[in-house]
């Protein structure tokens, strides 16, 4: 089993929070500080991964390749990671990121669709990259079935496979059972990625570590979609108290969380009624901002949208369903008003 390694995802998952408006200066400052604080990997991409800049997910202010290049220029110890969702990003996008110095790619699919990642995992290996498979919305697949999907990703060449709790919907036992199932089924490493929608991100992460997960995602000040990810500085403090600190500088991470991230975040990620609804109804965390915007556009409640989207079993990437549901809810309301 490998050593514990922390991947800070704020410069990728945080992209959702600010609707993909990162500037090169912000990336330079935060990536440089994370590197100095001992984080093992820094992920930089559009929130929906390479090629995610779109009307569907929101256009990037600055081309992600520019941001990747900027991060590369300041990272000395930490590896540079990118995210890729097959169906959105392509091998050409991955090659471009690799050419700019990306070391690691996380190839993400819905938790039942691992077989669409074969092409990209294989290609990443050809490019000499470290590869993690990312099984998103892991709460939607029971442990044994999830492990079977993880085995597929391992067979394509993944060095690690993540239990990715995109909806922040896993309870502690649900997280434990899934990590354990993957740990039992795989020879490669296991990873864990949490969202704090049910206030369980740190707890679930600790359980995942206990069960043998070694690739751990977190975001400084929880700078990620929904109610945010596992907060890097909090996790560092807890691991340090447990005597398991994998080389993180707790005070430096606190400083990043307190001084560097808030000015970029626009509004803090928190557990409020909308983000709690994500975890409660099992909805993809990055739907939050889209639902808030659609709620405003169509004059409906964001929670109503998210609940309905959850009921229709939307998966990651189906942001267009938010518009459709908001439109339908507004039509229904207009219909009621007319009768």
């Amino acid at each position: 089993m490998s050593e514990l390694r922390i991947c800070d995802v704020s410069l990728r998952d945080g992209s959702h929070v600010i609707r993909h408006q990162f500037t090169a200066d912000q990336v330079r400052t935060i990536a440089g500080a994370l590197d100095a604080a001992g984080v093992h990997m820094v992920e930089v991409s559009h929130g929906d991964g390479l090629g995610g800049s779109s009307i569907q997910y929101g256009p990037s202010l600055v081309n992600e390749l520019e941001l990747i290049k900027t991060a590369r220029s300041v990272l000395t110890r930490a590896k540079l990671a990118v995210l890729l969702l097959p169906g959105i990003g392509t091998r050409d996008d991955l090659k471009a990121a690799r050419d700019l110095g990306a070391d690691v790619v996380r190839v993400a699919t819905h938790c039942t669709e691992a077989d669409i990642s074969a092409q990209h995992i294989g290609y990443a290996r050809e490019l000499g990259m470290q590869v993690a498979g990312f099984l998103m919305m892991a709460h939607m697949n029971p442990p044994a079935a999830l492990a079977a999907q993880a085995r597929l990703m391992e067979s394509y060449g993944a060095h690690a496979v993540y239990v990715t709790d995109s909806a922040g919907a896993l309870t502690v036992d649900a997280a434990r059972d899934r990590v354990r199932a993957l740990r039992d089924a795989l020879k490669c490493d296991v990873g864990f990625h949490a969202h704090n929608n049910l206030s369980l991100a740190v707890a679930n992460t600790l359980v995942a570590i206990e069960e043998g997960a070694t690739w751990i995602d977190s975001a400084t000040r929880g700078f990620g979609a929904g109610a945010g990810n596992t907060a890097t500085e909090v996790l560092a403090a807890v691991l340090d108290r447990m005597g398991k600190n994998p080389g993180l500088d707790v005070f430096k991470l606190m400083d990043i969380a307190e001084e560097l991230v808030p000015p970029v975040m626009q509004k803090p990620t928190m557990i409020d009624r909308a983000s709690l609804t994500l975890g409660y109804c099992g909805v993809y965390s990055s739907f939050l901002r889209h639902a808030e915007r659609a709620a405003e556009r169509f004059g409906v409640d964001a929670r109503e949208i998210l609940t309905e989207v959850g009921r229709r079993k939307a998966v990651g990437g189906q942001e267009d369903m938010i518009i459709e549901v908001a439109y339908e809810l507004s039509q229904r309301r207009a219909g009621r008003a007319n009768t």
Binding site: S54, I55, Q56, P86, G87, I88, T90, R91, D92, H110, T112, E113, D115, I116, A118, Q119, R297, R312, K313, A314, V315, G316, G317, Q318, D320, M321, I323, E324, Y327, E328
Partner: protein, 301 residues
């Protein structure tokens, strides 16, 4: 050289789900007579069904088809991109029109509601992708009344309806569809995204089309053009429909559509596959008419 029935003789290469659905549709066609199916898997259920339906059946793929006398005039290729690359020159040399349902893109793209007439005399045409068949017409509908700066489509398909070829080559889907949005849709730049949804019962194929157009275009004209296009597509894909009114936001329109399959051989939720086989038959029928015209005037194609 028509058959005794006066219809054009056609054959199907590939005995999988697509080939089987195509067979059911072709047997209903007034312009096409389906005479054979060729596969390479002796145990294929598709071949067994074809045999039962009275077609000639070949277990040695294209070699079998090319040994037929008289030769078919039209061959629908429902195998794989790699196989079609091999089939294309052999069909061409035999003087057979190829209608290619794979992403090989040897021939020009054709989407019946958009450019069927232009491609009438071609010896090899390619049907882009299922997402392309469903979305390119909408972009073309906007293009005929406004300059389209950018078109982006999101195709959401039931997991149960995405076969191994799609899954192993998902980049081909996004890249080919994006090119089709530009070449046939008339967009300056195109982008395509595909999402697989495993919900059970399976969802219908749904597509969202975002089109950004040059300022000054009339929303009424765009909406009317889209509605007209939807009716044209419904001529050959009855289950094609708008899920909402076209939604405008500044110089952008969002169009949400759904494709319910005809349920011929494939289940109704497989609108993504049905729109391919329906388009293929439409192109085949137009080709048949063209062959008949050429024969009547004594000219060549």
């Amino acid at each position: 050289m028509g058959s005794e029935s006066g219809r054009a003789r056609c054959a199907i290469l590939g005995s999988g789900n697509i080939g089987s659905d195509l067979m059911v549709k072709l047997m209903r066609s007034a312009a096409l007579e389906v005479v054979a199916m060729a596969g390479i898997d002796r145990a294929s259920e598709g071949l067994a069904r074809a045999r039962q339906a009275g077609l000639r059946v070949f277990e040695n793929g294209i070699d079998g088809l090319l040994s037929m006398r008289p030769l078919p005039q039209i061959v629908f290729d429902a195998t794989s991109a790699r196989s079609h690359l091999e089939h294309a020159p052999r069909l061409r040399d035999a003087g057979i029109v190829a209608i290619d349902l794979t992403p090989a893109a040897v021939g020009d793209y054709v989407v019946p509601a958009v450019n069927l007439e232009e491609r009438r005399g071609a010896s090899n045409v390619n049907l882009v992708t299922c997402g392309g068949q469903a979305t390119i017409p909408i972009v073309a509908a906007v293009s005929r009344v406004a300059q389209v700066e950018y078109a982006e489509i999101v195709a959401t398909i039931a997991s149960a309806s995405a076969g191994p070829a799609t899954r192993q080559n998902i980049d081909e889907f996004t890249e080919t569809t994006a090119r089709g949005l530009e070449r046939l849709g008339g967009a300056r730049r195109g982008k395509a995204i595909i999402v697989l949804n495993p919900a059970d019962p399976p969802i219908m194929m749904r597509d969202t089309i975002y089109v950004r157009f040059a300022p000054g275009a009339s929303q009424e004209e765009i909406t009317a053009s889209i509605r007209r296009m939807v009716r044209e597509i419904q001529q050959y894909v009855p289950g094609y429909r708008l899920r909402a009114e076209p939604l405008f936001e500044e110089d952008q329109v969002t169009v949400m559509i759904e494709v319910e399959g005809a349920g011929d051989f494939l289940p109704r939720y497989s609108g993504n596959l049905d729109i391919m086989t329906a388009a293929a038959v439409r192109v085949g029928e137009e080709t048949a008419r063209n062959l008949a015209r050429a024969a009547a005037t004594g000219g060549t194609r």
